[in-house]
Amino acid sequence: MPRIGVFVCHCGSNIAATVDCAGVAEATRGFPGVVHAADFKYLCAETGQNLIRDAIAEHRLNRVVVASCSPRMHEPTFRKAVAQAGLNPYLMEMANIREHCSWVHADRQVATAKATEIIRMVVAKVARNEPLTAKQVGLTKRLLVIGGGIAGIQAALDVANAGYQVTLVERTPTIGGKMAMLDKTFPTLDCSACILTPRMVELSQHPNIELRTYAEVLSVKGFVGNFEVEILQKARKVNHLTCTGCGTCWQKCPEKNVPSEFDVGMGRRTASYIPFPQAVPNKPVSDTANCRSVRHLAAKERGEKLMECRVCEKLCPTKSIDWEQKDEIIVDRFGAIIVANGYDTFDHSVYGEYGYGKYPDVITGLQLERLMNASGPTKGEVVRPSDGKHPHSVVFLACVGSRDDKVGRPYCSKICCMYTAKHALMLKEHDPNIQTYVFYLDIRAAGRGYEEFVRRVQEEYGSTYIRGRVSWIYPQDGKLIIKGEDTLLGRPVEVEADLVVLATGITAASGAVDLMQTIGISYDTYGFINEMHPKLRPVETNTDGVYLAGCASGPKDIPDSVSQASAAAVKVCGLFSQDYLTTDPMTSVVDQMKCVGCFLCEEVCPFRAVERETLRGGKVVARINESVCKGCGLCVAACRGEALNLKGFTDQQLLAQVTALLRA
């Protein structure tokens, strides 16, 4: 016989303000099986939990209903509390009378009646609860990091330093990400390469880290502790085991006119290349779209004629050029994944009023970084792309592709105010005669030393800040006319500029959505990962064992990205510190007598938890792999023969709930 105890929580005034908690407790005393009912101000507090534990002993309760908040908040708390009193934790049920009742109603009488009905249903359900036991599965203590920017590097190093094996997959030929492209970092003006490259070298030499550049994740199967991942290693046409990175091939490559991705089109590279001098690995790849030898071979296969090249092959001292090298798929197992796929900058060619991206002297902040960088295409000289002349008047536009609903980017990109201030300062350092103007909407400089930095740029470096968005840019006499408004004065402003720098905002990295779908994690309309909880679980995704770091979940600056990476690393280390993982016992279960082997369940299962089992006599039926099953219930709904049931949510339990409500 069930002996049920009902505990009604006031949640301070969250529930008690609209629900008569004592009245509700009183009303539940008459429900079938209820032998005890009480109300309390905060059941989640230690005193509240003691109240429950004591009542279990005193009234010999074998079922408990806690009527309070959402189980998302406190289910673990109360399960633990009843377990301490010797009860199976799955014999406790929560009735949500806060989110489902008090918060959404104003009328006290109605809310009280509804709370009573909610509890009535849960009492009916809990009477049919069975004790459940969690199972344990083993795990692979190896981490996969996707993305080799600063966030990925930091996460990989932290986990590797804790003694676990790490594989880092990066789709470009080098790690370093966007940070490697920067000249200086705000607000300290550290040389970006000086602080980044030691980390890159450390990573490449770390005994616990396997680095896979020029590679992409193709598929992810499995579950926390046991992921099976397919990785595509793109053909480099260079054998990296024998290549010494001597540089002969990229110095002699005759195809020298490929726009450099690393220099954001400001410079050119060869077809056989390393993206920048400190690239890691410091060994080349041959870009097959532009390599003359590769194109020659492809043409030959099509029966066409194209001049042969093979310069690198002839000159390579270690004979490392390998035209036969093909794309390769590697299958590996990991216990956890950190997604640090980074970001892209907004493509400003959608702005017709700024010239559709066609004015050569309208560049982006990232392009300016490359122009200012000593190892950049101009050796650090800031010149106009159109004529190579030094600019005198430089205009910056903030919020390009940020805070702009019209282009589908209503959010703030967070870093542009700061990097624009940094650019204005650095230009002045490059050439004291340069005048800079910054058209801004608001200055968002929340961070240690950030606001002070922006003030310094205006007060000491004489940058003219104008509050207003620019409406129009057009070329005139070899210069650019910028038409804006000083909204503080309420007057139109026209500035003649030699160079315009657009502070383009942060967008999700190209291919982000495909990657999220491949991994099976949720993302928002902009392609950024949704955190498990925006406040309390900011580096976890909604899939166990998959974590995130850096701009994968939205705009962040370097310190934020690095903090997140370390936070994600701690989560992974916490996971790997266990030898077994406890699985939720609320999984589907097959009644093999009823199963007809139609395998509709197999089709609908998003977790591939349905397996096939041949019974004696040859009948093939479904079996649920409990360590894979997430208890979503799709298979239960799909099963025509009622052979499937969800533990903790059986048909009988749910039916009892509905019946209780209808009979009341």
Partner: protein, 207 residues
């Protein structure tokens, strides 16, 4: 310049101006975050007393006098540059139309009298003839604007080149035109007062 004062019982965003604009245009002026892109691209803003973004600001703060007495609402030619480029997609020309028609309803003295006169004369001719009568427009305007010689130097060359017709061209069904003017005005008033002004119109109008 006067101080904008908010008493403890005031609700600047709820004094009806925002709601009025919303009702007339469907536009939520609170979406404007004052970036000034509208004013930056406005061909007329340098001639206006309030820049376009300031008009929206005044609406946000419920400053009726500031808005209705401004020259901005009369100088806007609805060239649509602002709306085309607005990051928040606020249809400012529509808002300007609504503010102007409201100022007329409330019989507020227009800051740009001549502009109002021009439109009045223009519409008066359309109401009468169904089409524009350009000679009548210039003549009527000059009379009402008390500028007897305005555009006179253009008149003769235009006349000699056959650009001006001395006799107005008329729509045949002028009664329907007049009815349109009448019922549009009624509907306008009805939407402001929330009450029906006229009985339901006949299903069709005799021609």
């Amino acid at each position: 310049m006067s101080v904008l004062k908010f008493a403890s019982t005031d609700q600047p965003g709820r004094n009806g101006l925002l709601a009025l604009v919303k009702a007339k245009t469907g536009q939520d002026v609170l979406a404007c975050y004052q970036c000034g892109k509208c004013s930056a691209g406005c061909p007329l803003s340098s001639a206006m007393d309030l820049a376009p973004h300031q008009v929206l600001r005044a609406v946000q703060l419920g400053q009726r006098d500031l808005v209705f007495q401004s020259s901005a609402i009369w100088l806007c030619v609805t060239c649509q540059t602002c709306y085309t480029r607005c990051p928040q997609e606020v249809d400012l020309p529509k808002v300007m139309d609504a503010l102007r028609s409201q100022a007329i309803q409330e019989k507020i003295r227009p800051a740009e009298r001549t502009v109002k006169v021009f439109h009045d004369v223009f519409l008066g001719l359309v109401e009468r003839f169904g089409r524009l009568y350009e000679v009548g427009l210039i003549g009527g305007y000059n009379l009402l604007a008390r500028q007897p010689l305005a555009s006179a130097d253009l008149g003769l060359p235009m006349l000699t080149r056959g650009k001006l017709e001395l006799i107005p061209r008329r729509v045949k069904d002028r009664e329907q035109i007049r009815a349109i003017f009448k019922r549009a005005a009624e509907l306008e008033l009805e939407e402001i007062t929330g009450q029906s002004v006229a009985a339901a119109p006949p299903a069709s109008v005799p021609s």
